[in-house]
């Protein structure tokens, strides 16, 4: 039975990104205003010295040592396990029996980091290339490596809607709780840097050769990043049993499609506007109730003006504080919704606002300016987190103080 008014709480968070190997580490970097962007070191690519990326500062061996997955596993699984495990342990519900638990994950290209190595051999000879490298190529196979590692099996699935993937997995998880199908859901996403995505984005000419500057008048594009972010969502009754540890509520969410172009967003940000508006409507909040917007803010010419225009249409004249944390973490694609959801819940818990790094010249077309300094002791009651992707897939989440 579906209960629309059922509250869904965030009981645990876990994250790994270029700015930290866990939640505490990331928070430190956010406060110190230290971005995780740098030269490519791990990928063997011709773009090694031209395209900056935001890579997680752990090798596959190191990730394997912490997570217990084999070092030969896809980096996407390793990163996913790193963050999912942290969230799962943080929630502290694993000791309870009889809870219907799900793992709803997301990624954009599954185990492609291993597949692209396989392909080099396979193309020369159809019988060469290690099968072990492609056995977990599928998006869902990567998810299962983590689900199996956590021992979750009541409901395991994967969403892939480009950059909005893990925002969609989070609210799909929340709906499963509202429908009384599950009691606990670990939801979010992961993505590792791959030559496939690096080259793919490069063909679209939307990568910045310098460190990206989201929402800057002179922005040049995005920097690709990698990482994973997960929330542990729980039902009202589970929340009651762990009262001290709750972070916030997931009070609103929405998924809309821009239906404008395969990769570009409409100038007026139709999809973005619809997603943000839908999330507000569900939460019962007004635009002016939002304390902080974690912008999608990739730093591309197109996204930032499109998203900015949609924000203007919805929020004028009450602009909340806002920033894009992609200036810290790069664009983590399938993981971005999850990582930024973690940052959003932390903003509420700790009363903090993140800066939009490297903003030198505000966009002339927009009547607002993102925050440029880290702030604390702020009353952060409601946070809106945006994730807009290729294929016009736009999703927004709203987190609220309990």
């Amino acid at each position: 039975m579906y209960k629309k008014s059922a509250a869904v709480y965030v009981a645990g968070v876990g994250v790994v990104s270029a700015i930290g190997n866990n939640t505490a580490h990331c928070l430190q970097s956010l406060e110190n205003e230290t971005a995780g962007i740098g030269n490519i070191t791990s990928l063997n690519t011709i773009h090694k010295n031209t395209l900056p990326v935001a890579a997680v500062q752990l090798s596959n061996q190191q990730l394997a040592a912490v997570t217990g997955l084999p070092a030969s596993a896809s980096r996407t699984a390793l990163l996913g396990m790193m963050a999912a495990r942290e969230a799962w342990q943080d929630a502290g519900v694993s000791n309870q029996t009889g809870l219907r638990t799900g793992f709803i994950s997301a990624n954009s290209v599954g185990g492609m980091d291993k597949t692209e190595d396989f392909f080099a051999s396979f193309l020369k000879d159809k019988n060469s290339g290690r099968l072990h490298d492609v056995v977990n190529h599928e998006c869902g196979a990567v998810t299962e490596l983590v689900a199996d590692g956590l021992g979750i099996k009541n409901c395991v699935t994967t969403i892939s809607t480009a950059c909005s993937s893990s925002a969609n997995s989070i609210f799909f998880g929340a709906r499963l709780i509202k429908h009384n199908i599950l009691d606990v859901v670990v939801a979010g996403g992961a993505d590792a840097l791959t030559k496939f995505t690096l080259n793919g984005f490069n063909t679209l000419q939307i990568l910045d050769k310098e460190w990206c500057q989201p929402f800057d008048q002179n922005r040049r594009g995005l920097n690709l990043g990698e990482g994973a972010g997960y929330l542990v969502l729980v039902s009202e009754s589970v929340a009651a049993s762990i009262k001290n540890k709750l972070y916030c509520r997931l009070s609103g969410y929405s998924n809309a499609n821009d239906a404008h172009h395969q990769t570009a967003s409409s100038p007026e940000g139709a999809g973005s506007y619809a997603a943000m508006k839908g999330a507000l409507e569900l939460s019962g909040l007004q635009a002016k109730d939002i304390s902080y917007i974690n912008l999608h803010g990739t730093g591309t010419f197109n996204n930032d003006i499109s998203e900015g225009t949609a924000v203007q249409r919805l929020f004028d004249p009450h602009y909340p504080k806002m920033s894009s944390t992609k200036a810290f973490t790069g664009h983590t694609l399938g993981a971005s919704g999850g990582i930024e959801a973690v940052f959003s819940t932390l903003a509420i818990k700790h009363g903090i606002i993140y800066p939009n790094l490297r903003l030198q010249t505000p966009m002339q077309a927009l009547p607002f300016i993102p925050e440029t300094k880290f702030q604390k002791n702020i009353a952060v009651d409601h946070v809106l987190s945006n994730s807009f992707g290729f294929g016009g897939n736009c999703s927004s989440l709203i987190f609220s103080r309990i």
Binding site: S108, S160, N255, N257
Partner: protein, 352 residues
């Protein structure tokens, strides 16, 4: 709340697309790779858009368009689909160029078309549909997850109509790689002989099937999708039996109320053992029809199974070409499938 199946669109290795009758004659193919019987896509998609669509995008889009046309719906309230492999052709093309051209002079089209959500996104683009749009990419649960999402949307009243479907393709590369995993038959047989030899392996299949689901009845409804249940990596045959029985109990349906079972045996001796065991125990004496000899084995084949179940209920009986028939009008079908004994799913489909 009931989920009504108002319309379907199915491109498969059989003549299932835009046909007057249900499986009036079977398409027989030889070998371990079944190919879809494809329509003239220009009938469904403007030439201007077709140029940027790979085969699987065309398949998915045409199946979706046919379904919407049948339903008389121009703008569904949501589009949800599942694909386990995504857009393999373009993934292969981009990888090949990346390797052979050493990352130089790569073109964007193949990359854009390779992303898993491209099919769903393309449908939305053609329809100018700004509503909810989601794509699940979870192996043998990809279609089931999409159905679950659709059913939840309908129950929430967040949507009154949902276009739900799945698509998966075989490409030369994918078939070569999957073959190396020993998935397919070594001997050359025709699909109609799939269950004859009790040997290892199955035959590869592909297809794109869409359904227009609604929480409101309409005069043209095929059937209702009453319930859906999935379970992952069951401990053994006992758990499988338990899951099936619990599913039926929750639906307050007895096995005697089921007229036909549609089962996912795929010809592989080892994994088909599950079906054989169930047919000797809880499914004993039930009229059971296998479907994978018609469409082949692939992670989203249950979309074909659902199409078959809904179509059979609409007709009232099994098509003559399947060489099996029920004694009386078929009003309730239970679909049970597993993919590699990892992903198990149950669907209950009834007459309206």
């Amino acid at each position: 709340m009931k989920t009504f199946i108002r319309a379907t669109g199915n491109i498969s290795p059989q003549k299932t697309f835009g046909q007057a009758g249900l499986l009036q004659e079977l398409v027989i193919q030889s070998g371990n790779r079944l190919r879809c019987t494809e329509p003239d896509y220009l009938q469904y998609i403007d030439a201007k858009f077709i140029r940027r669509m790979s085969r699987i995008i065309k398949m998915g889009t045409a199946a979706a368009m046919e379904c919407l046309q049948q339903a008389g719906v121009q703008n569904p309230d949501a589009i949800v689909m599942g694909t386990a492999y995504g857009c393999l052709e373009d993934t292969g093309i981009f990888l090949k160029k990346m390797v052979e051209q050493n990352e130089e002079m790569l073109t964007p089209t193949a990359f854009i078309q390779s992303t898993h959500n491209t099919i769903g996104a393309q449908i939305a683009l053609l329809l100018q549909c700004h509503n909810y749009n989601n794509t699940f990419v979870h192996r043998g649960f990809s279609f089931e997850s999409a159905l679950l999402d659709a059913m939840m949307l309908l129950e929430e009243n967040a949507a009154a109509t949902v276009l739900a479907g799945a698509a998966d393709e075989i490409t030369d590369y994918s078939h070569a790689i999957l073959s190396r995993f020993g998935l397919y038959k070594n001997e050359t047989i025709s699909n109609t002989e799939l269950y004859k030899n009790k040997t290892k392996g199955t035959i590869a299949g592909e297809g794109a099937a869409f359904f227009l689901l609604s929480n409101q009845p309409s005069p043209k409804d095929y059937a209702t999708l009453d319930a859906l249940h999935t379970f992952y990596k069951p401990a053994g045959i006992n758990e499988i039996e338990q899951q099936v029985q619990q599913f039926l109990q929750e639906q307050q349906v007895a096995l005697t109320d089921i007229d036909v079972l549609i089962t996912g045996n795929n010809g592989d001796a080892e994994t088909d053992a599950v079906y054989h065991q169930l047919l000797e125990t809880i499914f004993k004496n039930k009229l059971a029809v296998s479907y994978k000899y018609l469409c082949g084995e692939y992670p989203t084949s249950t979309a074909f199974a659902l199409w078959l179940a809904a179509s059979v209920i609409k007709e009232g009986n099994l098509p003559a070409a399947l060489h099996t028939s029920a004694a009386s009008k078929i009003r309730r079908i239970l679909i049970y499938n597993h993919y590699e004994n990892i992903h198990h799913s149950l669907m209950l489909v009834s007459a309206c």
